[in-house]
């Protein structure tokens, strides 16, 4: 008898999330937003609106020194393949005077053995593996990251002493 009650209770618990989701969905657009996680396959969920790319040409602060800088401009249809690397038509050392774009960092001129090369290393060729543009989307998940200064409590102090 006891076992049966236990099984029934477990089954109810297992069904509870689905029940809650159903209630939320019934509320429609006015209700709280559905999480992007699994929901009943029969449910029509309105697609989230797309977000606008941030293309204001303003450099973003890096959260830590090694962070690949973000791309503050549109990169639609930028071709990066064997034929051409569109990014490098501006950011290549030879083109920065004409384009006034920042040159790719010197860290990109080293192969994996630390040997300095004359041009960008092959392993650094695909810019968008690390460098990405941003949109105005709000983060779905919270983030407790604090940068170096915040951790040491030295924010705002000159030289970080």
């Amino acid at each position: 008898m006891k076992t049966r009650i236990l099984i029934a209770a477990l089954a109810f618990l297992a069904a509870a999330p689905a029940f809650v989701t159903g209630v939320v969905a019934a509320d429609g657009p006015a209700g709280p937003k559905l999480p992007s996680g699994p929901h009943p396959i029969t449910l029509d969920v309105q697609a989230e609106s797309t977000h606008r790319e941030i293309v204001d040409d303003v450099k973003n602060m890096r959260n830590y020194a090694d962070q690949p800088p973000l791309i503050p401009h549109a990169i639609r249809d930028y071709q990066i393949d064997l034929n051409i690397n569109k990014c490098m038509t501006c950011h290549d050392r030879r083109n920065t005077q004409g384009s006034q774009a920042p040159m790719v960092s010197v860290t990109h001129f080293q192969d994996r053995d630390g040997q300095t090369l004359g041009t960008v290393s092959a392993r650094r060729y695909f810019c968008t593996q690390c460098h990405v543009p941003q949109t105005d989307a709000k983060p779905i998940v919270g983030n407790s990251f604090r940068d170096f200064d915040a951790v040491l409590g030295t924010a705002g102090r000159e030289g970080g002493k």
Binding site: V55, D56, D57, H73, R76, D77, Q79, L82, N83, I84, K86, T89, C90, R94, N95, Q97, G98, S99, Q100
Partner: protein, 205 residues
């Protein structure tokens, strides 16, 4: 000798006054035939100047057209679309006829399958692209300017980067559109040895 007598005979028939047809029939008939011919010619010309005609060949449908579909000249916020002839055929009549005569080479290419596979197309892409670059360079990017005129370009609406480039290179007449905007509607070929329009090498000329 035989050719000479043949030609002479032709000329005699041509020069002899009409025996059976009245002058009115001949002039009016000639006029109407002329109208029909001219109308037909222009209709046929217009028919070959449509996107549907361009992509009726698999070479164009599977290669450049597929690539165009992803670009801003095909789908964008305002819904204006540039189709093949908007960029690749001059809009003025004489220039258009000249381009069409040039394009007879493309009929040859179609018949003999110059680019009838993806591989052949990719191998020839640099050459084909160079033809278009030099054509647009020679006519000062006329087909771009049919829609994008420098006069109506409000650079305060552009982001500073674009505004600066246009001020430095376009408005001074130093460069034309195609010098910087290559590969905006199709994928680029192997670009080794081709400097961008703003590189110091091309600007110094």
């Amino acid at each position: 000798m035989a050719i000479k007598t043949f030609l002479l005979q032709c000329w005699r028939v041509f020069a002899r006054p009409s025996v059976h047809f009245s002058l009115g029939f001949l002039t009016l008939g000639g006029f109407i035939a002329g109208v029909v011919f001219w109308g037909g010619f222009n209709t046929a010309l217009e028919a070959t100047n449509k996107e549907a005609f361009c992509i009726s060949c698999h070479e164009m449908r599977d290669n450049p057209y597929e690539e165009l579909k992803q670009t801003i000249h095909f789908t964008n916020r305002s819904g204006v679309r540039a189709s093949c002839p908007d960029c690749h055929v001059p809009h003025e009549w004489t220039d258009k006829i000249a381009r069409k005569m040039q394009a007879s080479k493309e009929v040859w290419g179609k018949i003999f399958g110059t680019i009838d596979t993806r591989e052949k197309f990719l191998d020839k892409r640099r050459e084909l692209a160079e033809h278009e670059w030099s054509r647009l360079k020679a006519n000062n990017s006329l087909e771009c300017r049919n829609c994008h005129s420098a006069e109506s370009m409000d650079i305060t609406k552009q982001n500073p980067r674009a505004a600066n480039m246009h001020e430095t290179y376009l408005f001074t007449g130093q460069n034309t559109c195609i010098d910087c905007h290559k590969g905006i509607a199709h994928r680029l070929p192997d670009m080794h040895g081709i400097d961008p329009g703003w590189s110091m090498k091309t600007s110094a000329k």
